[in-house]
């Protein structure tokens, strides 16, 4: 019995509530509530701002990847394969002596046209200079056309033009394919840095989470003070703000994490697309490579295109952030107003 009482006394003296009560004992209630109001407003404002900025950045990264970076990487891979395929088709045409057959050049022409259109589409999605590749592609196309049309009756001139075209396409470092390869590598690097979370963004997330933690603790403290000193058990505004704080600490973070996972997956697939297009150089592998790239590109588009729920989370965060500032302030202002300010 004596032991039980001792434990009870000890708890009353050393419980967190007791410790906090002692800590706040030299503050007057009004001042205490005003300080809580100030801290809550500051924490809520910082948390809401940091949360919105960092979530928006994550969203921007995802948008940039889906609307610019990924299509540019996919487009460069597809262009490279299309132009190699055109060369292959033209080679078949010449080696099988099909140049004279009506309509036989359709296959390589359509691939060339696809490559040309691919470059046009990429142009407004990349900051890289495509002028040289465009010019080389036009020269390549010209040589190929001369070989398959103008010199169809002159085997040596035809061979010369086809070889010239092939050199324009594949010569290491300066050909169309190696240049597209280099552009693809650069674009991939760009895509990686777009998808990755930078130092500032990471810091903003930490700031948001820390501010939310501070807000939650301050809300608990405010509830405690109201109960301990004013005899008000549950302030609905502060309770709602607390629930909202927990939600805002968890939901955007989860959403961001899911988005980051999607971006990582997309980057891995873009890397695969790059590898496939680099490894596919000739033979049947080329057609298979084209199909692979098309399929993987579809996949990436699907993954990055499904972003409606992240928009909703952002809108929710925006409204939640405003409420986070308004609710605790309202709760405490109303209390202070009825208990102190109006009585002045």
């Amino acid at each position: 019995m004596k032991t039980t009482r001792a434990v009870s006394v000890s708890w009353r003296r050393y419980s967190p509530a007791a410790l906090w009560r002692r800590r706040l004992s030299h503050w007057r209630t009004r001042r205490l509530l005003e300080v809580h109001l100030l801290v809550l407003t500051v924490c809520a404002t910082v948390a809401a701002a940091a949360l919105l900025v960092s979530y928006r950045q994550t969203q921007h990264g995802a948008e940039a990847l889906s609307s610019r970076e990924a299509p540019a990487v996919q487009g460069l891979a597809a262009t490279r394969l299309a132009v190699l395929r055109a060369d292959q088709e033209a080679g078949v045409l010449v080696s099988k002596k099909l140049v004279d057959v009506a309509g036989s050049g359709e296959s390589y022409r359509s691939q060339l046209s696809a490559a040309d259109q691919g470059l046009s589409r990429i142009a407004d999605r990349t900051d890289q200079d495509l002028g040289t590749v465009n010019g080389l592609l036009a020269t390549y196309s010209n040589s190929l056309n001369l070989g398959t049309s103008m010199y169809r009756d002159q085997p040596f001139m035809q061979k010369q033009k086809i070889l010239e075209a092939h050199s324009l396409l594949t010569r290491p470092g300066v050909g169309v394919a190696p240049r597209l390869d280099q552009l693809q590598q650069n674009q991939m690097e760009h895509a990686r840095s777009t998808a990755a979370m930078g130092h500032w963004q990471r810091s903003a997330w930490w700031l948001a989470e820390l501010a939310l933690a501070a807000l939650a603790l301050t809300l608990l403290s405010a509830l405690f003070v109201l109960r301990d000193r004013c005899g008000r058990d549950w302030n609905p505004y502060l309770l709602a703000a607390f629930a909202l704080t927990v939600l805002l600490a968890v939901v955007p973070l989860m959403s961001m994490s899911a988005t980051e996972d999607d971006l990582d997956r997309a980057i891995r697939e873009l890397q695969q697309i790059t590898e496939v297009s680099r490894q596919s150089c000739c033979g049947k592998g080329l057609a298979a490579g084209q199909q692979n790239v098309t399929a993987m590109s579809e996949n990436v588009r699907h993954e990055l295109g499904d972003d409606t729920w992240t928009d909703r989370v952002y809108q929710g965060t925006l409204i939640g952030g405003l409420l986070l500032i308004v609710l605790p302030a309202s709760g405490l202002v109303l209390r202070l107003d009825s208990d102190y300010w109006r009585r002045r």
Partner: protein, 426 residues
Amino acid sequence: MTRRFKMLVFLVVMLLIAAAGLVVVWAQQDDEEPVTILGTWTADQETHFKEVLGSFGIPFRYQGTAAQREVLLSKVQAGEPPDIVIMPGIGELSEYADQNHLKPLDRLYDPRQYGSPWNSTGTADGHVYWVPVKADLKSIVWYREGHKPADSPAPLESWCMGMGDDGASGWPGSDWIEDLVLQRNGPEFYQKWALSKDRVNWWTSNQVRSAWEAWAGLLKQNRDAAKHALLTDHRGVAGSHGLLFEGGWKGCSLEHQGSFASSFYGPADAKQARLMDSAPLLPGGPDRVRAHEVTGDFAALFSDRPQAKELIERLASKEGQQKWARTADVFSANRQVQLPGGSAEREIAERLKGNGPRCLDASDVMAPAVRDAFYEAVLLTIARIADRQDPAIEGLLTNVQKVQKVQDAQRSLSDNRAAPSTVCST
């Protein structure tokens, strides 16, 4: 004013200054878009050139391609020309100048530092539109050390020939024809032909036809070797050491190529490469050396951005040219620049700067349409010979002459103010 108020005013002023500074820095960053340069140099020369450009401290973006004429045309037509272009084709540059695409380089370099025939003071409107930033010697033959040929025409099997290039195949053959025309007829005729002076049918003249026939005669000596030349790139297979050391016709030991060929050989083999004048070895010879064909890579401005102008100014200066010559072992047309010092290099420098007459590469001076017809006629000549057909040189030259006439007619309609009026130094 209280002390606190003064402090506040001081802080506000400091903040305003800091903000203004930030705005200035920001604006400067915007203005420092790199200078875009399109040139012909790739591989090692590209690396060296970038090194030289880097030392000027002006942000730049260089793209090198052998298909530079086509790339430039596509960029100009797309409305996105590079700030600076570096190319050998003066004929092409003068067309761009006539279409008001080029900005004058007046006062950006001292033309007195550049001797004839590289300086372009001969342009009709008095403005300068291009400056040579690299010079090369032609009318020479490369051979491997210890294999010096006799001073007499060499058989086709001795020649390492390749007509291929990225987009401008055939020019190595046009060099043969030009050299033959120059060594057989001298600079005066060569200049008239290159500039299509007085609207004479130079292409179908006896002099050009006989030079062409002499070259065709050489090719007829071995049709397989002719076929090999047609289907071989003038640089050799990618990664090889040029035609003279690897990849040429089996057993070949001579290469009729400009001084830039040593860059294809690689540093080790280039040390084993020696050169001599081509005149004694040309078919139908031996001829005496009447002049040397030379070529240059000329820088021209497509924009009037101050950074681009400054970059050309630095590059064309004696210091810039000296640095470029030292870094990449290339030759400068700037008379004040000391040229590289190996034995072959000394021989090239003597010919580039000596007292003998020098003529610019004729096809570089011609209008692009004529030049392309010239290259194609060269290729057709070899292809027909390889295919055991009559090359029908008369017909080929008549066709080129037709293209030339159309160009002459077009030129007479335009003011044609930028076209050079001389090709050879006296």
